[in-house]
Amino acid sequence: MKSAFIIPLALAARLWADFSPLDVNANGIGTLSAPLGARERAMGNSGLASTPATGVSQANPSRLAFQDKHSFTGTLETTLEYLHDDDFGNRRSDAFLPGLTLAFPTQKFGALGLWYWQTAHRNFTLEPAARNGVRQSFFAEGGLFELGAAYSYAFNPYLAVGVDIRKLLGRERFIKTADFNRDPSDPAYYNSRSLAGDTLQRDLDGLRQGVSLTFRQKFWNAAIAVQTGSYLDLDESRHITGITTGITGSQEIYLPWQGTVALALKPKNNHTVTLDLNYAGWDEAQGEGLNPGMGIGIGYEKQGSKSPYDAFLKRCAWRAGGGYESLYLESSWQGYATVGLGLPLGVRGHSLDIALLGGHRELGGNSFVAEEYLKLSLTVQGVGVWGQPARRRK
């Protein structure tokens, strides 16, 4: 169990470059990170209505009310990408720790969930070969981080309601550098001062709320979750090597509402089929080149046996899925297929979920950029029942 934590943390410490047109575009908030653990990732980024899941779902906090165990989850993602455009291709990889959650269900008074989640990230590097003795580069880095708290309550075994509030904090930097002094044959260039950074920094701060409902039936579940649109305070400042520019500005940017409608079918015991539809109301008003983002995800899960006496493989959960998303940046989309596995860790219900996602992301239009990527997600879950007497051995 200990090694399962240490290795993801060691990986998270290494941050490699990532590419997406969304990372570079100053409008918007970067590349979105779906608020899903490895279980939902493996089911084609769907499964928000599926109730056997353990832990807090930031996308649908209401289903927390159907859980009876305290839990902790930690998720790690690493992505391997082959990026290409009209002229060039390149391989890259990145890894980050998008989220940690804590769930505190009670017997009678509903459930409380807390989480940290990185909802968007920018991590882009472009370092073209030096031309005319000048080496330039461009970096986009940072992200939008969410601290959330949710309360959910099950009125009866069939209906749960969740409300949540999310504090959003972000810092993004767009850095352009130029190293001029590489040509010894030209004294002026060679003794010039490099532009170590023409940096535009954006600090974001705001709040948003959400509400969610989950209907639970014997053979199907349904869920709907909506997060309100909200204004984020945006402070911009610009720094240039050796010069205080004094360029600062404050404004508000609108983070549009987004919603999910999810359906989970349970045709047989331990078998679940899921369908999720997502929508985010981006449009031109929030920035040039933006349009509504929407997606569909379909997934399947065969749950593992709960009996500790069964064989290990029989106790594992098996998952698969796929999906398509029209991204919020104009002319950009992605499609993907997923497979995954849920590994039990001991008899108490701890688990390690693994999802492997293979996808294609593309920005069409005048400048074609595309990437094939392979995303591996790991979610570690620890569960416990706090505040109740320990079972005594006889």
Binding site: I6, I7, F19, V24, L83
Partner: protein
């Protein structure tokens, strides 16, 4: 156990997979960035702007301290008078007792009290051959037999040790640091104790032997000359603690002779007072016969020299005395000239910062008037540019160049204090707001000079600094009122006697002047490799790196409105660079005056710029 192994294996696999991937320079996404206006293949624009007019072209005297300098100057040459100042602290009765051992009369060179001075041959030898710098030093005294020097002395006596250190500290600052004339040194107004001090003025004349002074065939000259009047003053009262200030000045101001005596060095060559007669100055005991100038700091003795010009050279770059050349570059003119070269400029962005271009390299080349430039022995000079312009906006930071005009009439010794500046809290290390006051004093003792006295509101008991100035002179002064940033106040009294212009500036930037070796990439350290930045007599131009100053000139929109910018060309060090010895710097200070040709009253420079387009925010 099985589960743990699986988890470990998966994690290890990820680690290996991630580590195997190679990252590096790439081009993917370039087209998209260009489409978004983040252009990555901007050309660097290389421009040379010829005949660029420089504004407010002038020079000002800088108050350079020579306290403790190894080599001093004494004499008069090239319209500059050099005087020396020495301070001695006498607290050992043994020295005074030795005065009784001999009684020297005026003119008796072996008197009981003598001033000893040493004249080493600073040029040095290369084996048995003299270096060119030493040959030149020989020439400076050729045709001269002697130099008469007036020795004014002020002795302060204190019967007890009470407050003696305070007295010494006050006079040391006024006499050595600020170089006030002896009779203009005032005592603090708040203490009757100071006014009760016993003070004695005396004047002696000594004659230094100059003939063959630096002759390579003779040993270094050490001369001792009697000071009979000072002797009498010391013998008149045997007070326990005495502070002796000596002010040495050449008698005739029309000679053309500049000596380089030893300055703040002890033993043998260094200046000293010899108590008692009949012994060799070089063998005198420092515990009872040879009184050396005391240490002001751990390394600096209380010996200094000061230089005064006969006439203002307000359009010349100077070395000994240091004259800094000042000029401004009009921002609008710069933009127009760049626009003309490029065939237009991008539209100017809003706000106080012009973010169109970054300047990685800027160099200003000034034309030299080779006929009027006079530098001793045609030594080369290492010059540096100081850009006196902060980059910050006035609304966000007070570290800007601002002017303050104040009309002051010279007042009596007890002056009216005028508010000169409110020192903003951001300038203060202690985060306090303070006020700088100034008074313009016409001293009763000498109506030919004026004294500017500066005080802080927070400490009204003593002067923060003072400056002696003659009407028509232009001087610079560095103030450090306990602030993190040195304040510099320029006094310009040329237009009217009472019309003073003060400039407050902060965060001056000395432009980087290093030159890298193309072979190694490291900066050159030998002078012979740095000649492209030297001012060499006979060359028609001197080129000085001015990257940051030009950068700010371009980037600061308010230049000439809320802000003022200024370039200051300065000579680095006080020695010259000898072209005949691969530009080795001379030990001794040299004199020089560099002039620049003006066409229709305007000096025109050549500006070399590299411009790199910046992305608009």
């Amino acid at each position: 156990m099985v589960n743990q192994r699986i988890s470990t294996l998966i994690g290890f696999g990820l680690l290996v997979l991630g580590g195997c991937l190679s990252d590096g320079p790439n081009e993917t996404g370039t087209a998209f960035l260009k489409e978004k206006g983040i252009v990555l293949q901007d050309p660097v624009l290389d421009l040379v702007l010829e005949d660029f007019p420089l504004e407010a072209f002038r020079s000002t005297l800088e108050e350079t301290s020579h306290l403790g300098d190894t080599v001093a100057m004494l004499g008069h040459s090239q319209g500059v008078t050099a005087g020396m100042r020495l301070a001695f602290s006498l607290s050992n009765q043994v020295f005074l007792d030795s005065l009784d051992s001999a009684d020297a009369g005026e003119g008796d060179e072996d008197g009981a009290l003598r001033l000893v001075m040493g004249f080493p041959k600073w040029g040095g030898l290369d084996g048995d051959n003299p270096l060119p710098a030493q040959v030149y030093l020989e020439k400076t005294v050729a045709g001269h037999d002697s130099l008469q020097v007036l020795v004014r002395a002020l002795t302060l006596g204190d019967p007890s040790k009470d407050q003696y250190n305070r007295v010494v500290s006050h006079y040391q600052r006024a006499f050595l640091d600020k170089r006030l004339p002896l009779d203009l040194i005032t005592v603090p107004e708040d203490s009757s104790y100071w006014k009760a001090q016993e003070k004695t003025f005396t004047v002696d004349t000594i004659t230094l032997e100059v003939s063959g002074l630096y002759d390579r065939s003779r040993p270094d000259s050490i001369q001792a000359h009697a000071l009979p009047h000072l002797l009498d003053a010391l013998k008149a009262k045997r007070l326990g603690y005495r502070y002796i200030l000596l002010d040495l000045q050449p008698v005739a101001a029309d000679t053309d002779l500049m000596l380089r005596p030893a300055g703040g060095i002890g033993a043998y060559y260094g200046p000293a007072l010899l108590f008692g007669g009949g012994f060799d100055p070089a063998r005198a005991s420092t515990s009872k016969q040879r009184l050396e100038p005391y240490y002001v700091t751990a390394t600096a003795r209380s010996v200094t020299y000061f230089l005064e010009e006969d006439h203002e050279n307000d359009d010349a770059l100077g070395i000994s005395p240091r004259r800094n050349l000042k000029f401004r570059i009009h921002r609008d003119t710069l933009l127009q000239r760049i626009s003309r070269k490029l065939g237009g400029l991008p539209p100017s962005p809003q706000g106080e910062f012009d973010s169109r271009y970054f300047i990685p390299f800027g160099e200003i080349s000034l034309p030299l008037d080779t006929n009027l430039t006079r530098i001793e022995n045609d030594y080369a000079l290492d010059v540096a540019m100081v850009s006196n312009l902060d980059s910050t906006a006035p609304s966000s930071d007070p570290g800007v160049v601002t002017y303050h005009d104040l009309k002051l009439s010279p007042g009596p010794e007890s002056p009216q204090w005028e508010t000169l500046w409110v020192i903003d809290q951001a300038l203060s290390l202690r985060q306090k707001t303070d006020t700088l006051k100034v008074a313009y004093v016409l001293p009763e003792a000498d109506s030919s000079v004026r004294i500017l006295r500066f005080r802080r509101m927070a400490d009204t008991t003593r002067d923060l600094d003072s400056l002696i100035i003659r009407p028509g002179q232009s001087r610079e002064l560095s103030l450090n009122p306990g602030t993190r940033i040195s304040l510099r106040v320029k006094v310009d009294a040329r237009a009217e006697d009472y019309d003073l212009t003060f400039r407050l500036r902060s965060q001056s930037t000395v432009e980087a002047a290093g030159i890298r070796d193309p072979e190694t990439g490291y900066p050159y350290t030998d002078n012979e490799d740095l000649t492209s930045r030297f001012l060499i007599p006979g060359n028609p131009w001197v080129s000085v790196r001015s990257t940051e100053g030009l950068q700010r000139t371009l980037n600061r929109v308010n230049l000439g409105k809320d802000l003022q910018q200024e370039f200051s060309l300065q000579v680095s060090g006080r020695g010259g660079l000898d072209p005949d010895t691969n530009f080795i710097r001379t030990y001794y200070p040299i004199q020089g005056s560099v002039r620049f040709p003006a066409v229709d009253g305007t000096v025109r420079a050549k500006i070399h710029l590299l411009l790199f387009p910046l992305t608009q925010p």
